[in-house]
C-alpha cells in the first residue's frame, strides 16, 4: 500500500506538481499522503499565468531548489540559537499518517479503557458516546452519505471511527491537546491504550482481526490500522473554482420560479443578547437556582464524576464513601471542594461558582449520602 511506504527518492529533486484532482462527481481521487497535491499556478480568463492564491504575479517566484542554493543560504547570520537535543526531543512530537513520529510505549486495550474512563469519559462518555455537546468518538460508520431534508432527519455522524482517515496523527493530537482540563499530561503508554480502546469502540478490525481487551497497542500496531474512511477525502478543489457564475446584468433569473426561504427559527435570538457578559458554565445553574441550588450545581457540575464515583470521587449516595468524609473537619471538606483535591478540580471545574454555592452543594451531597 502507498500509505506506509515512504520513498524519499521519489520526492527529492524538483517540486512535483500534480494537476488538480477530482473534477467530476463521484469519481474523485482519494487523498494520498504520498502524492504532492499543490498546484501553484493557473491561467486566468485572459490567459495570463497567475498564482492560484492571488493575483500578485511575481516574475521571480522562488522555488524550493533556488532557496536551497540561495546566496543567503549558509551565510550563517547566527540569529537566534540552535535548538538543543533536549528541546528537540520535547518539542518534536508530531505524528504523520504513516506513523513517522510515533514514540516508544505500549498498553493493552483493557488498561486503555481504564485510562479512558478516568481521563476522558467525563466529556466523551464511557463508550465514546459524548456527554452533552462534547465530541462523539464512536459510531456513525456508514452515515456519511445521509443528508437531512428536514430538521428531523438524521444527518451524517462524523466521529473518529466514521470520518477520520488515519489514526496515527491522533497520537499527537490526544497527547498534545487532551484531556481538556490537563493537556499534555498523558504519557506514551496511556495514549496508546486510549487509541486502542477508541479503535475497539469503533469495531475497527486490524489485519482481519477484532481488537480484543488483551490486544497490545504500540507503534507497529498503530501503523497497521486502516480506518474505514481512509479513502474518503479528496484534496481541496477550491484552488480550482467549483462554481462558475458569470457577471450577468439583465434578465439573469426567471423570477416566476424564484423561491424565497425565510428564517424558521432564528438562531441569533439568545439570552443574554450578544455583547452582554455570558457565562458558559454558570448560566445554567443561575437559571434553575429557584430550587435547591446544591442539587442544581451537583447535577450540572459534579455528577459527571460523583454519580459513578470515577477517579476516586466519593460516590453520590454511597454511605460508606461519605462516612469517611464525615470524619474529616467540614472546613477541610469545603476547602477541598473549593480549591481542589487530588483528581477533584477546584469547584468541580466551574470557576464561575461562588464559594457559598459550592458549600451548599457539599452540604447537599453529604445530606443525600447518609
Amino acid at each position: 500500500m502507498y500509505m506506509f511506504t515512504r520513498n524519499l527518492t521519489l520526492l527529492a529533486g524538483s517540486i512535483a506538481i500534480v494537476t488538480n484532482l477530482g473534477a467530476a462527481k463521484l469519481t474523485y481521487t482519494p487523498a494520498n499522503p504520498d502524492k504532492y497535491p499543490y498546484q501553484s499556478t493557473a491561467k486566468n480568463k485572459q490567459g495570463r499565468i497567475i498564482n492560484v492564491d492571488g493575483a500578485i504575479i511575481r516574475k521571480n517566484v522562488i522555488t524550493v531548489k533556488e532557496v536551497y542554493k540561495s546566496p543567503f543560504s549558509g551565510k550563517n547570520l547566527s540569529l537566534g540559537k540552535k535548538a538543543s537535543k533536549a528541546t528537540l526531543k520535547a518539542w518534536n512530537t508530531d505524528v504523520r499518517p504513516d506513523g513517522k513520529g510515533l514514540p516508544d510505549g505500549k498498553m493493552n486495550v483493557e488498561e486503555g479503557a481504564k485510562v479512558f474512563a478516568a481521563k476522558c469519559a467525563t466529556c466523551h462518555g464511557d463508550f465514546g458516546e459524548g456527554v452533552d455537546r462534547f465530541p462523539v468518538l464512536a459510531g456513525g460508520i456508514g452515515t456519511l452519505k445521509l443528508h437531512p431534508r428536514t430538521g428531523g432527519d438524521p444527518g451524517p455522524l462524523k466521529t473518529l471511527g466514521s470520518y477520520a482517515p488515519y489514526i496515527a496523527p491522533f497520537f499527537w493530537y490526544i497527547q498534545t491537546a487532551m484531556p481538556l482540563s490537563a493537556p499534555k499530561s498523558l504519557n506514551n503508554d496511556e495514549v496508546y491504550g486510549i487509541l486502542g480502546y477508541l479503535l475497539q469502540l469503533n469495531e475497527i478490525q486490524v489485519n482481519g482481526k477484532d481488537i480484543e481487551d488483551s490486544t497490545v497497542i504500540d507503534r507497529n500496531f498503530i501503523k497497521s490500522v486502516h480506518m474505514p474512511n481512509e479513502k474518503g477525502f479528496e484534496y481541496n478543489n477550491l484552488r480550482k473554482a467549483d462554481t462558475s457564475n458569470t457577471r450577468c446584468m439583465k434578465n439573469c433569473i426567471d423570477t416566476s420560479k424564484m423561491v424565497v426561504m425565510h428564517i424558521k427559527t432564528d438562531a441569533t435570538i439568545v439570552k443574554p443578547p450578544f455583547g452582554k457578559e455570558r457565562y458558559s458554565f454558570g448560566d445554567k445553574n443561575k437559571k434553575k437556582a429557584k430550587g435547591n441550588i446544591g442539587e442544581t450545581i451537583y447535577k450540572n457540575t459534579c455528577a459527571g464524576c460523583h454519580n459513578s464515583g470515577i477517579a476516586g470521587a466519593p460516590k453520590f449516595g454511597d454511605k460508606a464513601d461519605w462516612a469517611q468524609i464525615r470524619k474529616e473537619n467540614l472546613k477541610d471538606v469545603f476547602d477541598h471542594a473549593i480549591n481542589g483535591f487530588k483528581a477533584m478540580p477546584p469547584k468541580g471545574g466551574d470557576a464561575s461558582l461562588k464559594d457559598e454555592d459550592v458549600k451548599s452543594t457539599v452540604k447537599y451531597m453529604l445530606e443525600k449520602s447518609k
Binding site: S40, Q46, D53, I62, S73, Y163, P169, N236, L238, I263
Partner: protein, 267 residues
C-alpha cells in the same frame, strides 16, 4: 454557516467571522533563505504553544509565496488573544490555519492529516466523500447597510446609499454588482476604499427606494475571473454539509416598513 437554510438574522453572525488587519512581521521566505531549506521539504507544520497545541499542514509554495511571521497587528504588539509574541500569517486563507502563539515550524516531505484538517474544516459532500485542504477564501461580499442590525425603519424613502464590503482570498476585487430584485437585474457599485489584494474592499451604490419590498444582493468578482456564486450554484456544487467556506450571494429582504431580514433566494 447557513448551508441548510437561513437561520441567523444578523450580519454579525452570518458574516462576522471575518477580519482584515494591518500585520507587521517578516516574510518566512527571508528567514528560510538564511537558514536554508532542503529540497525534500514540501510541507510546513506550524505548532502553537497553546494548551491545544494547534498545528496544521501548510504547503511550501504558500510558505515561500507570502507567508509571514508577524509580531504586530494594526500598529501595536500582538495582544495575547491574537497570538503574542509571534503568530503565523497566511494572507487570504481560512482563519483556523493562522497558528497563534507559535512554538515551532517543522518541515517534511508529506503532510500531517491532523484532526483540524481531516475531521474538522473539511467539506462533506453528498456522495459521502469530503474535500480537504480547503484553504483560500473565495470571492465574497455582503451589504452592511442596510442589514438586520441596521435597518431602514427610520429612513426616509427616496435615494438611499447602500454600502457593503467585498473580499477575495485569491486576489483583488475587480467588480461588485448590486441587485434589488433578488438577482434578476444588476448594477455595478463604486469602490469607496483603496483596493488591495486579499483585503476587504468597500463599495457603495445609490438605490431609489419607493417603499416597496426589495431583495437586496451584492455579487463580487475578482481578478482571477471568478464571480461569487448564487446559493443554488454553491449547494449544487457542494451539498449542504460543507459547514465552512460558504461564499454564496447574500440576500437581505427589505420590507415596506423598513425591516431587514436574512433570506435565501433560489431561482
Amino acid at each position: 454557516m447557513e448551508w441548510r437554510g437561513p437561520g441567523l438574522n444578523s450580519l454579525q453572525v452570518t458574516h462576522g467571522m471575518l477580519a482584515c488587519s494591518e500585520w507587521t512581521g517578516v516574510p518566512l521566505k527571508i528567514i528560510l533563505e538564511d537558514i536554508g531549506l532542503k529540497p525534500e521539504a514540501k510541507w510546513m507544520f506550524p505548532e502553537g504553544s497553546d494548551p491545544a497545541g494547534v498545528g496544521r499542514s501548510v504547503p511550501i509554495e504558500k510558505v515561500l509565496d507570502d507567508a509571514m511571521l508577524v509580531y504586530a497587528m494594526n500598529g501595536e504588539a500582538l495582544r495575547p488573544e491574537q497570538g503574542y509574541p509571534v503568530r503565523l500569517f497566511l494572507p487570504g486563507w481560512e482563519g483556523a490555519i493562522q497558528v497563534k502563539w507559535l512554538k515551532r515550524l517543522k518541515f517534511d516531505d508529506k503532510s500531517w492529516f491532523v484532526r483540524e484538517e481531516t475531521t474538522k474544516y473539511t467539506m462533506l459532500e453528498r456522495d459521502g466523500h469530503a474535500k480537504m485542504y480547503n484553504w483560500a477564501m473565495e470571492a465574497n461580499s455582503v451589504i452592511t447597510s442596510p442589514c438586520p442590525e441596521r435597518n431602514w425603519k427610520e429612513t426616509k424613502k427616496g435615494v438611499i446609499k447602500v454600502e457593503g464590503i467585498a473580499w477575495s482570498g485569491k486576489g483583488t476585487i475587480t467588480h461588485v454588482d448590486v441587485s434589488i430584485d433578488g438577482g434578476k437585474t444588476w448594477r455595478e457599485a463604486k469602490f469607496t476604499s483603496i483596493i488591495l489584494p486579499k483585503a476587504v474592499t468597500r463599495f457603495a451604490i445609490e438605490v431609489n427606494w419607493d417603499g416597496k419590498p426589495m431583495l437586496l444582493q451584492s455579487r463580487s468578482t475578482d481578478d482571477t475571473g471568478y464571480t461569487q456564486p448564487t446559493a443554488k450554484q454553491l449547494v449544487a456544487a457542494r451539498g449542504k454539509e460543507a459547514i465552512y467556506h460558504r461564499n454564496a450571494i447574500q440576500t437581505w429582504e427589505v420590507k415596506s416598513n423598513g425591516e431587514v431580514n436574512d433570506v435565501h433566494v433560489y431561482a
